[in-house]
Each structure stands twice: as structure tokens, then as C-alpha cells.
Symmetry: C2
Subunit: 366 residues, 2 copies
DNA sequence: CTGAAAGCGCTAACAG
DNA sequence: CTGTTAGCGCTTTCAG
């Protein structure tokens, strides 16, 4: 079928797909055209109905008599017809594809969300255009732009924070967006998260209860809304409740959400004489912990570490990492589910969904 | 033009974003035409040229007088015109998007490739539709089908192995495909890999040199071509060179390429009295190693583990994992680069690219 | 329940 | 260098 077939129009008879050898033999081809794709028109002709009816049949539109639907579908199968989604998209203004902006697929936290997103997308017949942004505003803006050009029906944005430029850009388009595992302090977009403030509050309490009065808070970017407005607030809440003064010097930044970035923090941490740390990313936490252990500091006896995402990594390190437990896959899945509703203009009861979290006590804390 | 016009519903409905002053004054417009999109036709009119010229200008076609191009581009900017890629795709039969089939984004090996793929895609102005297949033939076939419908210009396939059904399916379409980190024993498709056989050969030699004569080989699926035809052959080569008999009982299967799946292998390994293992996946290797350590077996003194991918995980475990080093990101990047050439019908010198590998000696081996 | 016809927004000959 | 004219393959009124 592979470029070897030509359009043959014999005796005014309907066009047929033939192998070019027979064309040469027959020698009476009136019109030859390279016929690669079988279109809705071919199906219509073969089934002796109009294109409109074919369209209705393949879209399972109710307004079509069962017999004609069957007739059409049989021809569809026989001709091996496959609808062209691009043409469909142009005509219907729906592409059944959604854009997904992710900082980095390589990051296990976001990868887990992405998997949830894709699974639900598939379930609802959507496809996903994935774009890595590195959390960089420039890249995010560029990605948004090409996604708009591609006429995606919706957008899932991951990236911890929404810069003003990104906010205004997304506001100006009329396509629905949902933030997955990412907060918008202005509360302008739909989102799916856990209650970071409460989670960190609970976690900090545990560390305080263990007798630590110099608990570090470490994040990749302290000034990002998700940290500044939520996690750090939870951390402060706990400190306040325990009557321990908040010290700005116990806030540490890792620059990147990576293992190495966490690993490099040791000296600073030691210098401030912290005995425990709340870390907002598993990779970073693993780096911090290993770095301590490697220098002879015993975890958790001399130094406790608690992390944030409960990715598989938390079970792979030794000691295993105590962590907040988040329904990672579900955050992605629910985000996509929410988006499908938005795209179909269905009612949504909650714009900002908070999924439940928990605390898992493992061996990096006492 | 850009989101400035909206339906106005005056009967006490809220959330009306209107920018048309006359509407605000009137206060009782029943319905307004929703004018969202500015098309190439609008630009043509405003710039007093034909659509064709606009098309040429925005595509930087050479056959346009510099002044007219500027004139057009100015209007483009003024009207905030953004080409509709769907219409473009229908007219040009090129969508500038490629399909990527990945077993699981959550797997660090494949995630690393995916990042390389996306970066190069972006560089060449392509977008990526990502689909998780779990290495399952049914899902792969389904994904391929929807990708064809979406008229992707090319395909990158990851999945360790090409089943016959997938092979014939991909052969029947005329779009280029390249296998990334995945082998095709029939050598029918373009691909980018390392020389798994040589790599495992070298690695097995190291373990043999350390005095192990019962070296296990563990993979997620032993019968997959990448293992059966390449890695295991390399393992056998080394055994043969060392004069050690190959024992089928020292081949272990993990079922899935996951940490847990590796972790569960301990008893079987211990039962066969192996003192070292070659593992074909980092997650599995971490599971095997931790499982040994957790049960009191000292790694590497009593048990050596060597793994395959050199993902970041190999540095996060304790001890750190000795491994084959693969240019993961590059495998993805080169695959995508190869694909761009194929999509543009450029000459390619090598159909099956082998990237260099190395051996990194860390602490899980003596 | 079905058909005719009009596009969707753009590219690509083909003239000029 | 620029305009005209056909479509690309499908959905969607609007009639009947």
C-alpha cells in the first residue's frame, strides 16, 4: 500500500487502488494520480453516501440509521480508512491535544506527574505535547507560544511558580489551563496541589519534637511562591507554635532541584550548626543526606533530614528518607481530568483542588 | 483583536471581560460576534498584499522584496498575528511534530533520552507528542495509530524491542522512524545505541578478573532482543574467553525495570550462590544491591554489582554503583537529529549509529 | 435520517 | 517579485 498504488479511473468506473504493474499492462489509464491517502470522500463514494454521513458515522453521531452506519463502517474497515486529525482539527477547531509544560522530565517528581497526566489524557482520547522549560520564563513563554500555534485545546503547566509574564500570557488566551503541583498565589488559574503549608507544618513539628531547635529549611528557590508563600509559612507556623524564633539564616537555597545542588550544601549547613533539615525536593534531600553521611556525620543521630515528595528515590537511599507523602501520580491525573472537564465546558465544583498528604517516617529522622 | 471581544450577558451575569466602550455604555448588547482569530487574510488586507505574499513573508521565503516583507511583518506584529499550525499542516502536509513512544517517563533511563530528544526537537522547531507504552505491544500499536492520525512527520521509538506486529505496522507507513536506545535485530530501522555486546563483555571481564566465577546476569526481560541478542552474547563472550562455562541458571529476570522488582531477586540470587551480578538497568541494580546490603551481605566484599546506564541514581546509592557509562542524553539527541535529516530527505551516512560507552568503577565492585 | 455546500486558515503551483 | 486559484480532508449548518 506503500506509495505503490495509483489512482485508476477506468471506463468512468469508480476509482480503484491498483498496483502500478497492472496499470502498465492494461494500458488504458485515463487519469493517474499518486494516491496515498484514502479520504472521507473515498469512503463516501464506496459506501454510496455523502461525506456528511460518513463523518457522522465515524463520529458515532446519533443521527444516522444503524444500517447505514454499519455500511459505512464496513467500508472504512475495507479501505483501511483513517481520519486525518489535522483536517479534523481545522474544521472543528478542536485538536484533541493538550500542551504540557514541565520543568524537566528528568526530575522524578515531575516525571511522576507527567505519567499521571498522560494516562488520563489517553483515557479521554487526548494526546500530549510535552515541552521542557527548566522553569525558565523565557522558555515557558516560547513554549506557550508554539503550543498556541499548534492550537492545543488546553494546557497543563508545571513549574512551581507563575511569573507575571507567564500569567498575563496565559490569561490572554482563552484556552483552559490547570497548574499541576504548582501554585498561583493570585489564585487565578485552576490547580491541583497538596496543602504545602500544612504538610510542612506537620513535618517541622516532628523535627521539633525530636529536640531540634535549629531546623534548616532548604529549597531550590526560596523566593518561589510555592516556597515563600506556602512551605516557609508552614515552617514558621511550627516554629511559632513551639516558641522557637524564626531565623532567616536557617533558610538555604539549592539553586537547582538536583542531587548535586543538595550535596554542595553541607558546609553551609554545618556552619549554621543545624541538626535537622526540611528539604523541599527529594533529589536535593538525597544530596544533602549523602553529603552529611559521606563526611562522617551520622544520619539521623547527628543530623535529621526530612523530604517532600516520596518519590521512589526516598526508598533507594540508605538510610531511607522520611518524607511528606504526596499522591504524585494523582496530582497529574486529577489535573488532566480537571482539564478535560474545562475543555468540554463542564461544570467544575472546585477550581483549586487540594489532594491529601501524609507523613512517612523512615530512617533519616529519629 | 486578541481576546478583546466577548459575549456580553447583561442579565446580572458576572465575569464579563469587555473592552469595547460602546458596549459598556450601552449596557444591553445581547450578543456579539466572538472575534478571536486574526488570519492571514486579515494581514493581507491590512498590508495591501495577497495572502500568498504574507505566507511568503512569514516563512522567510526568498522571493519577497525586502520592503514588502517588512511591511507585512509590521502588520503581523501590529495585529498580533499568529499562524495557525493546523491549517498549515493541512495545506503543507507537514505538522512539524514528531511522535515519541516511551515505555515510561518515570524510568530515569528513558527520561534522560526523552530530554535529549526534546531539546534537539526544539532546536529544529519540532514538537513532541509523548506517549507511554509500558513496553506493551497493544499500547504501542494503539499509540502508533493515533500518532499516524495526527500526521506526525516522524517517529522516535523507545522500547528495547520491536515486536513483529509493531515492525510491520511501522513498515507500512511511509514516515521515518528511529529507534532510540532500542535495537532491531532485523536491522530494518534507523537507530542510535551503544554497542551493548561489547559493553557487557568488558564489564563481565572486570567481574571475572575480580575472581568471581559465578556471575549473574539480570535483566527485566531476558528474551528481549536487546538482552538476548546483545547483552547476553557479550556476557557469554567474556565467559568463554575466561574459560568459564555458561550456566543458564545464572540468568535472572526482574519482570519489570523497577527497583522493587530488583529488590525481590535476592533469594534467587543467593540460592544460586552468585557472588556478582551484571544488571541491565540502574533501578533494578539499586534494588538488587540494597536488598543484599539490607540482609547483611556486604557489597562489594561479598557481593559485587555492576549496572548499565550511569543515571544519576548510580551516585545516590551507598555504595555507589559501578556501571557502564552511556551518553544517555546524546542517544536521545542524536536520534532526534537523525530524524530531522530523515524528515527532510537529507542523506544520512549511518543508519545504525553506535555511540561510545565506557566503564565507571565505583564502590559496588572491588 | 441524509445530502449539498460552505468553509476552517494556510500553502503551493501557475501565471504574469 | 507578486497575485490568483485551487485545494489539503474534514465538520457543520441548513435544507429537505
Amino acid at each position: 500500500m506503500n506509495g505503490f498504488f495509483y489512482y485508476l479511473n477506468v471506463n468512468g468506473y469508480s476509482a480503484i487502488l491498483v498496483d502500478n504493474k497492472s496499470i502498465l499492462k492494461e494500458g488504458r489509464v485515463t487519469k493517474m494520480k499518486k494516491k496515498e491517502t484514502v479520504t472521507i470522500y473515498d469512503v463516501a463514494r464506496e459506501a454510496s453516501v455523502s461525506m456528511a454521513t460518513v463523518s457522522r458515522a465515524i463520529n458515532h453521531n446519533h443521527n444516522v440509521k444503524p444500517e447505514t452506519e454499519k455500511k459505512v463502517l464496513d467500508v472504512v474497515k475495507r479501505l483501511n480508512y483513517r481520519p486525518n486529525d489535522v483536517a479534523r482539527g481545522l474544521a472543528s477547531k478542536k485538536t484533541t491535544t493538550v500542551g504540557v509544560i514541565i520543568p524537566n522530565v528528568t526530575n522524578s517528581y515531575f516525571a511522576a506527574l507527567a505519567r499521571g497526566i498522560d494516562d488520563i489524557a489517553e483515557m479521554y482520547q487526548y494526546n500530549i505535547i510535552l515541552t521542557n522549560s527548566d522553569g525558565d520564563e523565557k522558555k515557558e513563554l516560547k513554549a506557550l507560544n508554539t503550543l498556541y500555534s499548534k492550537q492545543v485545546d488546553g494546557l497543563i503547566f508545571m513549574g512551581n511558580e507563575i511569573s507575571e509574564a507567564v500569567r498575563s500570557d496565559m490569561s490572554n488566551e482563552r484556552i483552559p489551563v490547570v497548574l499541576a503541583g504548582s501554585v498561583d498565589f493570585q489564585n487565578q488559574f485552576n490547580s491541583v496541589n497538596i496543602d504545602y503549608r500544612k504538610a510542612v507544618y506537620a513535618q517541622t513539628n516532628e523535627l521539633l519534637k525530636n529536640g531540634n531547635d535549629r531546623v534548616a529549611f532548604v529549597a531550590s528557590h526560596l523566593n518561589r511562591s510555592i516556597n515563600k508563600d506556602y512551605r516557609i509559612e508552614g515552617y514558621k507556623d511550627a516554629l511559632r507554635d513551639a516558641g522557637i524564633p524564626f531565623r532567616k539564616t536557617l533558610l538555604f537555597e539549592a539553586n537547582e532541584a538536583t542531587y548535586d545542588s543538595g550535596y554542595k550544601l553541607r558546609n553551609k549547613l554545618v556552619q549554621e550548626e543545624v541538626t535537622a533539615a526540611i528539604v523541599s525536593n527529594d533529589d536535593v534531600a538525597a544530596g544533602v543526606m549523602n553529603s552529611m553521611s559521606d563526611s562522617g556525620i551520622n544520619v539521623p543521630e547527628q543530623f535529621e533530614v526530612a523530604t517532600s515528595d516520596n518519590t521512589k528515590l526516598t526508598e533507594m537511599t540508605r538510610p531511607m528518607l522520611s518524607t511528606i507523602t504526596q499522591p504524585l501520580y494523582d496530582i497529574g491525573a486529577v489535573s488532566m481530568r480537571l482539564l478535560t472537564k474545562l475543555m468540554k465546558n463542564e461544570e467544575v465544583s472546585e477550581r483549586n483542588i487540594l489532594l491529601p498528604f501524609g507523613l512517612k517516617d523512615r530512617n533519616s529522622t529519629k
